[in-house]
Amino acid sequence: MKFAIVVHGAPYASGSSWSALHFARAVIRSGHEIYRVFFYHDAVYTASALMAPPQDELDVHGQWVDLSKQHTVELVVCIASSLRRGMLDETEADRYEKPGHNLDDAFVISGLGQLIDAGLNADRLVTFGA
């Protein structure tokens, strides 16, 4: 089966990102496919390349990046949510003349069409609420 995973919560304000990560690993372990992971609302903060948690604490961002690279999982952050919250890739930072960009390469900024597409084309859509 193809799974779409939707994450709503900010990485440390909510358990949703961590739960979604564990779920994503279980999807792959169970022999299923992840169609897309879509980060919406405050979950877009997960994409920050600037997170530097203590070594003995959860590395939510790092774990998502590892999952994405190990299993070629598409991680999408909603562009509207991202711009509002200051999560920018280099293109958007240039466009809005911001002093820097912070989106890790493992994440792609895209529109809500990717969320709807995931709902339509995956066999199951699982939301991890904030």
Binding site: V6, H8, Y40, H41, C78, A80, S81, R84, G111, L112, G113, L115, I116, D117, G119, L120, L125, T127, G129, A130
Partner: protein, 117 residues
Amino acid sequence: MKKLMFVQTHAPHGSLFGQEGLDAILMGTAFAECTVLLLADGIFQLLDGQTPAALGTRDYSVTYGALKDYGVSTIYCSASDLATRGLVPSDLTVDVTPVDDDRIKALFAEHDVIFSA
């Protein structure tokens, strides 16, 4: 083609869940048949007379009125949640169809994907 359902449960202005949830609904209408259900505090998104100018947030309730132009012929809300909040349909800025919990159960069963916000 799958039928998509969007459930709104957050009040407006205290967070962006409602406004961003509505953005998802609008995008959904471009792809597929969509159903909109307001539950719990989501009903407050349609309360008439919102004047958020001093807050700086947006009164996006009017956008719900445009949904019919995008194929959403009915906006459902929970009849009991409306009553619990001391409201009647005429208190809302857009026509809604209040439904009981049994009808909401049936709505859930009729859809292939449920987006929650």
